[in-house]
């Protein structure tokens, strides 16, 4: 049986299938620039790693556009300019701000537009690249978390270092001593309080006596005051006279001292030196008396009969 398949038809079919496939891919990839868009620039000072071209741009979670290009601001090296394209009817307000957030755990990022109140004006933009409206970014959650964690970790590190310094071996020993001493003080205080309680009655009695004594002193002061009023003047006059007499005597004594007729040093020497000799003799006498008493103690009958005699020396025979 002869094969009657037409090669032209097969070729046409394959060609149509190929063209259809290409269109399908283009349709699925949404490569077409259908619809109207407006462009903005998102200015950020954060790292945009994970953010690629065609990354989605969402407004309150609703995808409204995509990233078109990412460049460093040539006028500001610390700033990154991300050009985004959003749908024409998207409400981009002057108080709208951008946050770069991560898409799950893939490491990819997208731009989340937030803010934008109804009362705010629409953010102006233009079709020219230089006149695109600028949306400023705020730190992302991750960035804030990162900063917070970094700050916390540095503070924790500092705290640990200080804790290590505080809990040094020396300080630990001192702390032990302090705790030990505190325990002793507490014990002592407890005993003291117990003593105070035990002596509470005595203290009360003492206070009563002190109050009575204070009253007595007060009365005595009144009496003393009245005594001074009545007899004090006369007494003071007598004291004055006595002071005058003492001054006269001391003046005379001073004159004698200045003349040299009354030298304390000479007076002391004249009396002390002979006394020194007498003391030496007295010391000898005391030694002999001590011996005598010692002998009498051993043999009291010596006082009458003198039975105990000194033994002659070996060469006194």
């Amino acid at each position: 049986m002869e094969n009657r398949l037409s090669y032209i038809l097969v070729g046409a079919f394959v060609f149509v299938l190929l063209i259809g496939g290409v269109f399908s891919i283009l349709w699925l990839g949404n490569y077409s620039d259908k619809g109207t868009y407006k462009f903005y620039k998102v200015a950020t000072k954060e790292s945009v790693s994970g953010l690629n071209e065609k990354a989605p741009v969402k407004l309150r979670g609703v995808q409204i556009g995509e990233v078109r290009s990412i460049t460093i601001n040539p006028k500001n090296a610390e700033e990154v300019l991300v050009t985004i394209r959003v749908q024409e009817d998207s409400p981009i307000k002057e108080d709208t701000y951008a946050v770069i957030e991560a898409q799950g755990i893939t490491g990819l990022s997208f731009i989340q537009l937030q803010g934008g109140t109804n009362n705010a004006k629409d953010l102006k933009t233009s079709g020219k690249t230089e006149e695109y409206g600028i949306i400023y970014s705020r730190p992302s959650t991750f960035s804030r978390l990162d900063k917070t964690i970094t700050s916390l970790s540095s503070k924790a590190e500092m705290i640990f270092e200080r804790a290590e310094t505080v809990m040094s071996e020396k300080n630990v020993k001192n702390l032990e001593l302090i705790i030990e001493n505190s325990a002793k003080i507490a014990e002592s205080t407890s005993k003291t309080m117990a003593n105070i309680e035990a002596h509470n009655k005595e203290i009360t009695q003492l206070l009563q006596e002190a109050a009575a004594a204070a009253k007595g002193i007060k009365e005595m002061s009144y009496s003393f005051s009245s005594a001074i009023d009545t007899t004090g003047v006369g007494t003071m006059n007598k004291v004055k006279e006595a002071a005058t007499s003492v001054t006269t005597v001391m003046g005379g004594l001073n004159q004698k001292l200045e003349k040299g007729s009354f030298d304390v040093d000479i007076v002391v020497k004249e009396n002390i030196m002979p006394l020194q000799k007498s003391l030496q003799e007295l010391q000898v006498l005391l030694n002999e008396t001590k011996d005598l008493v010692s002998n009498l103690k051993d043999s009291p009958s010596d006082l009458l009969f003198k039975e105990e005699t000194i033994k002659p020396a070996p060469n006194e025979r």
């Binding site: 020194q276 030496q280 000898v284 030694n287 009969f305 005699t309 006194e316």
Partner: protein
Amino acid sequence: MKQITLAIFTLLLFCGCSIKETSLKPYNYTLEPMLTLDHIGNPNQDVLKVAYVDSPSGLNSRAILYKKDGATQPYKYGTWSETPPLKLQHLITEALMDQHHFGSVISGTSMAANNLVLEPVLQNFEEVFREDGTSYVHITLRVRMVEIKSGEVLGSTKLTSKKDVVNTNGAEGTVEAFNAATAEIIKNLSVWINEVRK
């Protein structure tokens, strides 16, 4: 009855007295060393006071002491006329005065102003009996020279002398040995003191 009792007691008392040994009164001996001191160095103008000789209480008595078998006892028939510390003070003062090394040498009781003080301490002054019956006298004297104004001790030394007792006729022989030993001590003291204060 009372009178009889009193008479008996009186009789007994006199009986006791009558049997008591008649003791001889001890002789008094004086320390008198024969001294001839040599003068060394140039004389100075210092006034030296010889202080009272300090000593243990046992030596501060008139008893002539001897030591036998480790025990110290006094002579029965001989005593010093003055205590050895007092006599030594006088002897040292006199000897140094005669040496004319110092401007003046005064005793402890003098009222004169002085700039130096000699402080002697008598440590030994006794006769020691050996086991064979012979004996020697032993004197040890430590002295310090002090400058009064600064209180500085200029020098200190220990002087010792031992002399055999040749004459064994009681305390007399011992006193002779003590005189010889004392003379040696004072002579050595004068040599030392001349070197300390040239």
